[in-house]
Amino acid sequence: MAAKPAPAETQPCWSCGSMGAAHFCEACGRVQPPAALDYFAFFGWPRKLNIDVAALDKDFYQLSRKLHPDLNARAGGQEQEWSLEQSSMLNDAHRTLKDPVQRTQYLLKLEGVEVEEQSKSATEQARATGQMKKQIVPPDLLEEVFELNLQLEELRLQKKMGEDDPALSEEVGRRKLELEEKHEALLEELKKVWASWDAWIDRGDGEQAVAQDERKHALDKMVDVLNRRNYIRNLVRDVSAALES
């Protein structure tokens, strides 16, 4: 941990005055008051998405040992309270960043992208111009979702009537496998977008400003992949439920 630069926002240690103490002081070991940091900054990392999960886990375990409220019990009221707050933030940060989808969603939120807002503003735009709303997910995916739902309905109905059409169950089972593959493939697609996002982060401050459309493009693409993945995930869930019913 010591090798990592403390985030710029951190204050000097309240107890001994050493500089750059993020969670606890490197010099005197006292727990610090929690700073208003995002989860990336909490670990002293830039907002990059392709993270080394093993390193994340390692930092997490090291920090959680040092910040454990029980260990800081003897330090008394204030410090114990801080360590409690710090540990709970540590847990949230770790859980969120460890999961690739949650990590991406979290970044989108940090960058001010509200997925639900996008859908609403697209409707407003359509209303104002009298045009058709641009659907956020591609039409062929919608078509696929709709068709499969029809089949599922049929399957459920048959099962309820005690009939069994093996051909239909088989067909739906095959679709389920396809969907699971697609679900996986979309994760790979997401990782490709991470690379272009991370490349943007790696540009210097001056260069980031001129490459704004690169940033926007990457964020839009993330929303797109996550939306499609959402649909597929729900489908897989519904298909499994229908097959087991």
Partner: protein, 137 residues
């Protein structure tokens, strides 16, 4: 979460469930989805060529109770209206009628989108069907 009586009524007795012939020239089809929850809604209208009045409307929704109620209500509302009148239906009208809570607003948005999409599809068909006649006027 508790649904209003009107939502429950539409949910239990949905009006106009079904489909119209997608390839027919006087039928417009709107297929829309809400990525937030993964629901899909199909709404179809049959329009009278001479009066532009929507004579028939059908829907099929795979989604939550509010989405089903919103689309059921939407088909009732568009019937008898001209396409232009139907375009004026706003999701907030649906929200009010069904007393939808804030978390269910996106379900009503879906219904508005579906109406608009169905009308858009129908209009596109009319343009391609008689391009010369329109220009001549």
């Amino acid at each position: 979460m508790s649904y209003s009586d009107k939502v429950i009524d539409h949910y239990n007795n949905p009006r106009n469930v079904g489909s119209l012939d997608k390839s027919s020239n006087d039928v417009g089809t709107g297929l829309v989805g809400a990525p937030e929850c993964g629901d899909v809604m199909k709404l179809q209208i049959r329009v009278n060529r001479d009066t532009n009045v929507i004579e028939e409307a059908k829907f099929k929704t795979f989604g939550c109770g509010s989405a089903i109620a919103s689309s059921s209500l939407a088909t009732e509302w568009v019937k008898g209206k001209t396409v232009d009148e139907a375009m004026a239906i706003k999701n907030m009208d649906i929200v009010k009628e069904l007393s939808l809570p804030p978390v269910k607003i996106h379900c009503s948005v879906l219904a508005e989108d579906a109406i608009r999409a169905a009308i858009g599809d129908w209009k596109k068909k009319q343009e391609t069907a008689k391009p010369v006649a329109v220009e001549a006027q």
